[in-house]
Symmetry: C2
Subunit: 226 residues, 2 copies
DNA sequence: GTACTGATCGATACACTGTATCGACTGATG
DNA sequence: CATCAGTCGATACAGTGTATCGATCAGTAC
């Protein structure tokens, strides 16, 4: 076919020149939509209308891209409140909320040290808001809250995914989990566990998170105000 | 080359017939030696002297293999001690120790619900040892401790790896991190954070873990004994 | 003893990954 | 206008998880 007969290629929407921000944004959109395993350099590049290797001008490896994604989300985490307890609670809640909006965060949180500008800015905001606290106590306290949040969020998101795999809401999932646990408990090998699972009150995710957080904050309070 | 000229293949050490335990053990050895990303079905199979597809007789996917690995390690986690506080502390410490022996555990802990037999047996041991505690309080308390441990271990291992990448011990790593942080702090954008990092006492990993755990246990104590 | 059947097994193949390499092109310089 | 240095990204490579399906083998029927 001669040139004249061929239609011009549909003119791609003129892409703004590439930069890290656009790359990270595209990666986050992919991850939000289809999970972290949907983030491949090829797909990110395709979403931006460029070849995969083009990205290596801006990042040295995929790991760096993931680091940038996590740091970008840290921009959304800004604890507010009066007094150290409200600040730490806000830190925990906003982090959890960010993980709800970006479930892939649960896969990355705590996986690598966070030293990006937004992560540091978050740290600055926290430390600044903890002005009244003894300087030697600040790091241990913030570290402990971070650790709890990372673990709690991971557990929570993991459970949510397991529910979703079966396409079930919470109740159906527990009903489907039930038979397996019932059969297992029927062996009599886990009597104490069986009792707790069967007889104890079951809390929803919100309450579970908050109760654990309260434990931790109570314990912190006892040592800080001492 | 004719058959007659070719030497017989070295007769492979007669491999015991395959089973899940052997597969999981091989995978764990690979992960212990070279990290989780060294665990591929091909490598595991090669270590066992079989073809990759052979494994699919025993597992349905790689994820299942990882689940089995985590469950296998749960067999090592058996909290002991008198009284709920010692039991929970032991739970946390033995889990942390397992993660030190199997660093890849930090990548998997909390990533999927743990319902395997050894994980349930661990749960049984914990719940049984918490006999004196109010039945409705058991789950929230254990869940909170688990969350803290998962997050704390992840952070700790992540830091340890970052140190190792540079081939440095702790002091050199901080010295190498120093310049970056110094330069960043020199911008004046993180004054409060800079003060804490520069002036506050720095705890080692053991102390950091234990302090956070004490916060949590103190808070639990306050509510349990109420 | 032979022929057939059913199940089992694993080699091959596929689609995809992250990224090293290096030829082609571009813009600057003599 | 010719040459060169430097940049860019298409191609290629080594690896991944796993679907497929032909070959193989054990067991059965005659």
């Amino acid at each position: 076919m001669l040139v004249w007969e061929r239609p011009e290629p549909p003119n791609r929407p003129v892409l703004a020149p590439l930069n890290r921000e656009r790359i990270v944004l595209a990666a986050i959109q992919l991850a939000d939509a289809d999970g972290l395993e949907a983030v491949s350099l090829r797909k990110v590049a395709a979403a931006l209308g460029v070849g995969p290797m083009r990205l290596y001008t801006y990042i040295a490896s995929k790991e760096e891209l993931l680091d940038l994604m996590v740091d970008a989300v840290h921009a959304e985490i800004r604890p507010v409140g009066d007094g150290w307890r409200e600040v730490l609670r806000s830190l925990a809640e906003t982090t959890r909320q960010a993980a709800h909006e970006h479930e892939w965060l649960a896969d990355l949180l705590g996986g690598r040290p966070q030293l990006g500008p937004h992560a540091l800015a978050r740290g600055e905001a926290v430390v600044a808001a903890l002005g009244g606290v003894d300087v030697d106590a600040v790091m241990p306290v913030v570290t402990a809250v971070d650790a709890y949040v990372i673990g709690a969020v991971r557990r929570e998101i993991a459970e949510r995914r397991a529910e979703r795999v079966t396409g079930m809401d919470e109740k159906r999932w527990q009903a489907s989990l039930g038979p397996y646990l019932e059969r297992t408990f029927a062996t009599g090998r886990f009597p104490a566990l069986a009792t707790v699972v069967r007889d104890a009150a079951h809390l929803d995710a919100d309450h579970t998170f908050r109760i654990g957080l309260d434990f931790l904050l109570d314990g912190i309070e006892a040592r800080i105000s001492r």
